[in-house]
Each structure stands twice: as structure tokens, then as C-alpha cells.
Amino acid sequence: MKKLESRHWAFLGLAIVVIGTMLLNLEPDLDVSPDTIRMHAFIDSLPAGSIILVSFDHEASALPEIKPLATAFLRHAFGKGLRPVGIALMAEGTAVGYRLMEQVAAEYHKQYGIDYAFLGYQPQYIAAILSLGESVKQTFPRDYVGHPYDSLPLLREVHKLSDFGAVISIADGNMVTHWVEYGRARFNVTVAAFVTAVMVTSYDPYVSSGQLRAMVGGLRGAAEYEKLIGIGGAGRRGMLAQAASHLYVLALILVGNVIYFTTRSRKGRG
């Protein structure tokens, strides 16, 4: 067997820390930030039966953060009786979005075509948003599975972007900007977003200007949202592992420096 090097120990330690804390199955109590409260209140304020557009604007690699966020949100939406219509403006969001909506809808015994629908993917996101503003049906003549637009009762109730109660973008990149700058500015639709942690600071200015109605970010945001809707999920389970992994990285930095300074002082003496 090959000799284990220091990096192997570092790897092993991380695996133990993360898996260990996850196996504890603890869901720590946490303070909910005003951002998350604002989003929750906004979704709550939509009347039951409202049709909302949910846009999956992310890649598959962002799933660890996106999935808990989207799941918590969809649970809230379906639980409240909102009727989401899904689309994707990034290719990899298509399959992910379709599956997620299918799964959460099943938890709430919702029916495809009546309580929710999924339209699929359109490339050229700016063109797609502009075109949705004019006509949803022309942008997506068929849904993702191939049904003609008018064959689904839910879709017969919406014609253009402004008919939706809100647009919720679930994003790991710049797409929220386009929803705000085109969707909101031109067609006056309310936009809110669930985003990965790295994107939060980029969108803060939009939230404070009111262009973005509400925003929730990262695994932490998912955990807080789960707390508000009272259903545990991947977010809260991941929180403890997240904090533990940070402390672990700090410990590694410390150990690295201790090793460096002890070997250096030994060399200095020798």
C-alpha cells in the first residue's frame, strides 16, 4: 500500500468531520435573517391559486445549494396552493427543474397541467424574457413533455409575463439581473430570487433599491427558509456540517503554520 501523505490525512479529516456531523442528524436552531423573513412574507402574501413563474436559471453543478433552496420554496408554494409554472433559461436547469417540481408536487398530491406545469428550456435568455413578455404561448408552443400549450387548463389562464403573480428566479449566475432589467423594467412583473451564496453580494443593490422584491441565498438561506415553513430539509442538516468544515479549514491553517514554524526553528538551531 502506498504511504499516506499529509494531504491524505487532510482529506480523511474533512470526510470524517462532514459525514460525522451529518450522521448526528442534528438540526440546530438558528436565527432567521431579515432577508429570509421578507421572502417568506412575500410568498405568503400571494393569494392562494395565484399562478407564478419559476425559472430554473442554473447549472447542474450548483445543485448542492440550489436543490435545498428550490425544494424549500416549492414546498411553501405548493403548501399554500400557489400554482407554479416552471421554465429554464439555462440548459442544465431544465432536467433539474422538471424533476424537482415533479417530486415536490407529488408530496402535495398536485396534478400536472392543473396545479403546475413545466414548459422547458429556451436559449437566448434575453430574447426569451422579452418574448415571454409578449406571449407565453409563442415562446413555448409546447410544454417540456410535448403537450400543446392550450391542452393544459393551467396554461390557458396565462397569456403574458404580466399575468403571473411573480417571477421566482432560482439562479447561480447573472440571470437575476436580466429578469430585473428586462422582465421587471419592461413588463412590470414582480421578481424575487433564490441564489447561491457567492451571488448574494452581487444582488444586494437590487434588493435595497426594491427592484428585487426579496432574495434568499445559499445553504444557510435554505436552512432558514426550512425553519420558517416548519419542514426540515437538506439546508438545516447541512448547516452544522458547513460550520464544522469551516472550523476544520481553520484548524488546518493553524496546523500548517505550527509545522512550518517548528521545522524552521529546528533548522535554525541545527
Partner: protein
């Protein structure tokens, strides 16, 4: 547990074995991933570029302006043979030229001028006290720019300025590293969640 989850779980473990060292199981997973990803990209490009952007409007709706991109695209096929590969230089020139032309205003506007004017703040606050944070920003921007000054060796006052610039650079690198660790860790937490919950059923 469905078949898909078993496959996904095994492949997840196969990739993770790389952390110990390279081995045939990882290698097999790697070749499979690369192959499938090339195939996936082909299918998506065929549908979203070839069919939706080119063939449907060109042959379906008679938009003949698309003949030019079609010809340029076909010229790429010159690369199939060493002796005809020179033909592909034309479509490459289109991409490089138009990219450069688009980059000039994009770089000058948002990249350079907006960044400079974004740093402009009054030196004294409304309360009559010096605007320390604004001053820090200005010192940081100018000293880091001094670090990027190439025409002279960094000695004398330029040397001092560029040294201060490296300190600012280090603060930037430190904070980005610290800040990004959070999202990097969640990538593994996400996979661990999949393995423990969906694949091994150890947590709920």
C-alpha cells in the same frame, strides 16, 4: 432504491477514490464522464444551434441571410485534413475579429472607466471629518495600479507604492479565499447528503 440511484451512487464513489490516488476505477469513470459529456454537448448544440438557429429559420422560413453563417460553419470542416485546414482560418477570423471589436467598448466602459469613477468619493465627509474608508479605497486602487506599472523597475517611491499594492492584493486574495470556502464546502456537503440519504439511507 431505483436503478438510477445505484448507478449514480457507485459513480460518485468511483470519482471520490481519486482522493486516495489514481486507479482504474477512477479512470473508467473519468473516461465515461468525458465521453458522455462530449455526446451531450453534441446533442444540445445540434438542437439549440443547428436546428433552432440555423436549419429551421433557413429552410423552414426561408431566411436566406443565414446562408453566410452556414457557409462559415462548413468552412470549419476544412480542419478534417491538414492540407485544407487553412480554409478554417476564415470562420476563426470572424470569431476573433468580432470578439475583439465587441471587447473594445466593453473593456473601456464597464471595466475601466466605471471602475475608476466608482472609486471617486469626497475626501471629507459631510460631518467635516476625513473620509477614512474612501481614502483607503483610493490608496488601495492607486498603489495596486502602481504594482501593475511595467515601464520601470520597482525602486524608490514606485517601489514603496507597489509594495503597499501587494499588501492590498493579499487582503483581496485572503478575503476571496475565505469567502469562497463556504460555497466550496457545500459542494461536498451536497454529495455527502446524496450518499447518506438517497444511496445508503443512513439519514433521513
Amino acid at each position: 432504491m431505483d436503478f438510477g440511484t445505484i448507478i449514480a451512487g457507485l459513480l460518485t464513489l468511483a470519482i471520490l477514490t481519486f482522493l486516495y490516488r489514481d486507479n482504474p476505477i477512477y479512470k473508467l469513470a473519468e473516461y465515461l464522464l468525458v465521453g458522455v459529456a462530449v455526446g451531450y454537448a453534441l446533442v444540445i448544440a445540434w438542437k439549440s444551434a443547428m436546428v433552432d438557429l440555423l436549419f429551421t429559420p433557413l429552410f423552414g422560413q426561408g431566411d436566406w441571410s443565414l446562408l453566410l453563417p452556414l457557409i462559415l460553419g462548413l468552412m470549419m470542416f476544412g480542419r478534417f485534413h491538414a492540407r485544407t485546414s487553412f480554409i478554417s482560418r476564415v470562420p476563426l477570423a470572424v470569431l476573433i475579429g468580432s470578439g475583439a471589436g465587441a471587447a473594445v467598448p466593453a473593456m473601456l466602459g464597464p471595466r475601466i472607466l466605471t471602475q475608476v469613477s466608482g472609486s471617486v468619493t469626497p475626501l471629507v465627509g459631510t460631518d467635516g471629518l476625513p473620509n477614512w474608508s474612501g481614502l483607503i479605497v483610493i490608496v488601495g486602487v492607486l498603489s495596486t495600479l502602481a504594482y501593475f506599472f511595467f515601464s520601470r523597475e520597482h525602486r524608490g517611491s514606485l517601489g514603496v507604492a507597489s509594495k503597499v499594492g501587494t499588501w492590498f492584493l493579499m487582503i483581496f486574495f485572503g478575503t476571496t479565499f475565505g469567502y469562497t470556502v463556504m460555497s466550496r464546502m457545500s459542494t461536498f456537503i451536497g454529495r455527502a447528503e446524496f450518499l447518506l440519504t438517497d444511496f445508503l439511507h443512513l439519514t433521513r
